[in-house]
């Protein structure tokens, strides 16, 4: 292969290193009005009245919008439509939008925002899922505080636990985590040449945004256009609406350009978070380490709104076994509304949280049974032919065993490195292992992608995809797949992406799905174009279609090797645009509501990490020296980007393990929300395993979320190895590690 499997530089990298890429706040606009959102100061309250007179008197203020100005449905949400763009009768969290100012300059809009008076009537508020589920809890939404309860059953856990020779039961807790993408949300709204309400801003899914805005404004879909600007990270935080609703509403009414830039503090306050989960996990195993049963109870806090709460609820349950063969499984997963900050999609949709639990359990079992941590995982690792907890037989591309085998040598090496720890007695070293699996794409529902590629009589080739590249490199991968099929270099193909004015729905940049799903749509479109070019060539030159094939951008004949006509030449002779189209929707089935049975994902990615950690026994400080990260990605279309995802995921996973904790009401900015710097990240040794997925484009699956998932549990297991005590609540901050160390001291005689 010439273009696939090669780490070509990303197609948009040049403008990025030159500082020419245009992010949300960089977009040029002719004298726009400046927007500012007025936000609630109450966690739960009725809105009695919103007084705007005083604010309107400020010079430069053009208009103040409230919920009354929304012509269509004032409820949005990716799965459950329960979230107003502007609160109408009540607010459910601190920071909820209640009014929107449009003014001639940013100073005036800010001044006005302070002058808007909202009269509230306080309602009792709920700060934990346990509280939300109590009988006398105030209702946050009319239908009740339980957003979703999901069950998964396989075999019979009672029998399974009876067969077990060892049973481990523990509770694991995770907290809110912020995406902490560096670019504050910002964008422009305007009416485009065709009279469409247009919004340009960072996003992970332009077509979702378009649907929400059309319904918000009660406009037909084609009257709304969303364009993705260069996007400074996403990690799930840009799957829900951010600035889109405000920009569109103001543009719709004012018919002139408007601009909105969130303050960095506003981003921390109002963008979704990772769901805090509380996980009770019981595992049973034989003496040889083989699992006989797991029983898991998951309780999640979705905050004020549903967002991706249902997905996290179901996905964490489905992944609860880890990448292991477990004959008897029982999982209950509940997602609950509270008046806390709302949680949504964040890199992994609940799987990083559940992996922390199942990998800690696996580690405890290994220790109790005195089995090597790699060995115990190998004994349980999923294999082709095995049925997962949802009853899905795995047909191919189950690389978990391979990742374990490949990484084994590194654990031996790392153990060798531990010998010299006596040199500095206050430093203890440890090695942690962790594996993960991750279902590619949305869970048990249709999530198709579409793409087109066309060749023009003038020879131009255009590839259309709705995929939002958020820095991971999907634009480059799209071109590599088309290039490979057509046999033409990427720079000969023009890419039109993530603009609803030109591209069709590719679904979200989420769930590590774009390479597999949109990659397939692009592959099919390219193949379709290939077929059409062959057909045209056959017609033009009177050669049978079966004798023709496409190679290096030329139609060639098997029997007459001297025939070799560039497809651009064929397009020219045809005189019309020739267009290839492709659609792909992974084969899944909905899950049974009682048992969770079904085929949630068409394919899974697998990984194993080994973390080498050092713990300072006096301060509790954990240093992660090295992470070996072995990933079965099916096929790396662009190995450099795959490695980029792995290393970046390890860094984010290190933050998740050791330092990241969003505290509602306290966390305001990067001053008190710490993410890893260049001095905090471990050295990463990425290893790619390619257990090809037959339904994937060139065998590819996905990788975006996987490296994050496997990192934190490897670090936590490493800490346990070092200090002989385990951390059950993330992050493993200095205080928590120190507390664990001291507990041990007290116990020992």
């Amino acid at each position: 292969m010439k273009y696939v499997g090669i780490g070509i530089p990303n197609v948009d990298v040049l403008e990025k290193v030159l500082g020419q890429a245009r992010y949300g706040a960089d977009l040029p606009s002719e004298s726009p009005l400046h927007l500012k959102v007025v936000r609630s100061t109450k966690p739960h309250a009725k809105i009695v009245e919103i007084l705007t007179e005083e604010a309107l008197c400020i010079s430069g203020v053009e208009r103040i919008f409230t919920a009354k100005d929304i012509p269509g449905r004032n409820l949005v949400g990716t799965i459950t439509k329960d979230q107003p763009v502007l609160a109408s009768d009540r607010v459910r969290y601190v920071g909820e939008a209640v009014a929107l100012i449009a003014a001639e300059n940013p100073e005036a809009s800010e001044e006005a925002a302070k002058k808007v008076i909202v009269i509230y009537e306080d309602l009792p508020h709920v700060t934990s899922p346990e509280e939300a589920l109590s009988i006398d809890a105030p209702l946050i939404h009319e239908k009740g505080n339980l957003l979703l309860e999901f069950h998964l059953r396989k075999g019979d856990v009672q029998t399974g636990f009876k067969e077990a020779e060892v049973i481990i039961e523990e509770t694991y807790t995770t907290t809110w985590v912020d995406h902490a993408y560096l670019e504050p949300d910002a964008g422009l709204g305007y009416i485009d040449e065709e009279g469409r309400v247009t919004v340009i801003c960072p996003t992970q899914n332009v077509h979702y945004d378009q649907k929400e805005i059309a319904s918000l404004l009660s406009l037909p879909l084609e009257k709304v256009r969303i364009i993705q600007s260069t996007t400074g990270g996403g990690f799930g935080g840009r799957l829900d609406l951010t600035v889109q609703g405000f920009l569109a509403l103001a543009t719709f009414h004012l018919k002139r350009p408007v601009k909105l830039i969130y303050t960095p503090e506003e981003v921390f306050q109002v963008i979704s978070k990772r769901h805090p989960l509380k996980i009770r996990y019981k595992s049973g195993a034989k003496k040889d380490g083989t699992l006989t049963a797991v029983e898991v109870d998951i309780l999640g806090d979705t905050g004020a709104y549903a967002s991706y709460g249902p997905t996290v609820c179901i996905r964490s349950a489905i992944h609860a076994t880890g990448p292991y063969k477990v004959p008897n499984v029982k999982v209950r997963s509940r997602m609950v509304y509270t008046n806390n900050p709302w949680s949504g999609a964040m890199r992994g949709f609940g799987v990083p949280q559940i992996a922390f639990a199942h990998e800690s359990q696996m580690d405890i079992l290994a220790r109790v049974l005195e089995i090597d941590p790699i060995e115990i995982r190998l004994r349980n690792a999923l294999q082709v032919g095995y049925e997962t907890a949802t009853g899905q037989p795995l047909m191919a591309s189950v690389g978990i065993g391979e990742t374990l085998k490949k990484i084994r040598i590194f654990t031996e090496e790392a153990r060798g490195g531990r010998k010299d720890e006596s040199r500095e007695p206050k430093i203890k070293r440890g090695i942690g292992v962790s594996s993960m699996w991750y279902g590619i794409g949305y869970t048990g529902i249709a999530n198709p992608s579409t793409a087109q590629i066309e060749i023009h009589p003038e020879g131009e080739i255009r590839l259309f995809t709705g995929v939002a590249d958020i820095g991971q490199g999907s634009n480059t991968i799209a071109l590599q797949i088309a290039s490979e099929t057509l046999g033409l270099p990427p720079d000969e193909i023009q890419l039109i992406h993530a603009d609803t004015g030109f591209t069709t729905d590719a679904g979200p940049t989420a769930a590590s799905r774009q390479t597999y799903i949109s990659g397939n749509a692009i592959l099919r479109a390219s193949k379709d174009l290939e077929r059409k070019m062959i057909k045209e060539a056959s017609r033009l030159f009177g050669i049978g279609e079966n004798d023709l094939f496409l190679e290096e951008g030329k139609i060639k004949s098997r029997r007459a090797p001297r025939i070799s006509i560039p497809i651009k030449e064929i397009a020219k002779r045809c005189g019309t645009v020739i267009r290839g189209e492709g659609t792909f929707d992974p084969e899944t089935t909905p899950l049974d509501p009682e048992t969770g049975k079904g085929v949630p994902y068409a394919t899974y990615a697998f990984a194993t990490h080994v973390a080498e950690v050092e713990v300072d026994m006096e301060t509790g400080k954990v240093k992660v020296n090295r992470v070996i990260a072995c990933h079965d990605v099916g096929k790396a279309i662009n190995p450099k980007n795959v490695i980029g995802q792995i290393i970046g995921g390890v860094a984010m996973g290190t933050g998740f393990a050791l330092m990241e904790e969003f505290i509602p009401g306290k966390t305001t900015s990067f001053v008190n929300y710490l993410i890893p710097t260049s001095k905090d990240v471990p050295e990463v040794i990425p290893i790619i395993v390619e257990d090809k997925e037959p339904t994937g484009p060139f065998g590819a699956k996905g990788v975006g979320e996987c490296a994050l998932i496997a990192t934190a549990p490897a670090i936590i297991n490493g800490i346990a190895d070092a200090i002989g005590k385990r951390i059950y609540r993330l992050p493993a901050s200095l205080e928590r590690v120190l507390e664990a160390i001291q507990k041990r001291k007290m116990k020992s005689p």
């Binding site: 990298v13 290193v17 030159l18 500082g19 706040a25 670019e183 960095p264 860094a651 990067f670 260049s678």
Partner: protein, 156 residues
């Protein structure tokens, strides 16, 4: 009215005294390559060089640059002739979303000007004020190291 040298050229510009250098660059001079991530000196996305030293331009008041030398991402290279660091960042996959990239490049450039042969630890230290949420820094560090090694070879 303040005067200073911006990317090698002397300029004169009117600026309200409370404006930051970042705001001056982005809003008055239309140099959007310098980014605002946090606005409070925590992320390094706004890094520019002031007399060769990296500063967070969101913390520097514009009048403070009077008579001094300011360098921004727009001044270090162009399509036709990229700075060796820019080339290396492309080659090593050191850029994902790219929002941190201009700031990181400025920090790295300043480091290499002051210390052409930094160790890996010195590189890490030099960019430790630049947050990057996407890359995990490793490919950035490798890209800078590659330029260092290249410089070393040239001096031998």
């Amino acid at each position: 009215m303040i005067r200073f040298i911006l990317n090698g050229r002397e300029i004169e510009v009117e600026v309200p005294p409370h404006w930051t250098l970042l705001r001056l660059l982005r809003e008055r001079l239309e140099l959007k390559g310098t980014k605002e991530g946090c606005g409070i000196g925590e992320c390094g996305a706004c890094t520019v060089l002031l007399d060769g030293m990296p500063v967070n331009s969101c913390l520097v008041l514009a009048p403070k640059v009077e008579g001094r030398r300011v360098e921004t991402i727009e001044g270090i290279g162009n399509k036709e002739s990229l700075h060796p660091l820019q080339k290396s960042f492309i080659e090593f996959g050191a850029v994902q979303c790219g929002f941190c990239t201009p700031g990181v490049l400025m920090s790295a450039k300043s480091l290499l000007e002051r210390n052409p042969h930094p160790t890996r630890e010195e590189i890490k230290e030099a960019i430790s004020g630049n947050l990057c949420r996407c890359t995990g820094y490793q490919q950035i560090i490798e890209a800078i190291e590659a330029v260092v090694n290249h410089l070393k070879r040239e001096t031998i």
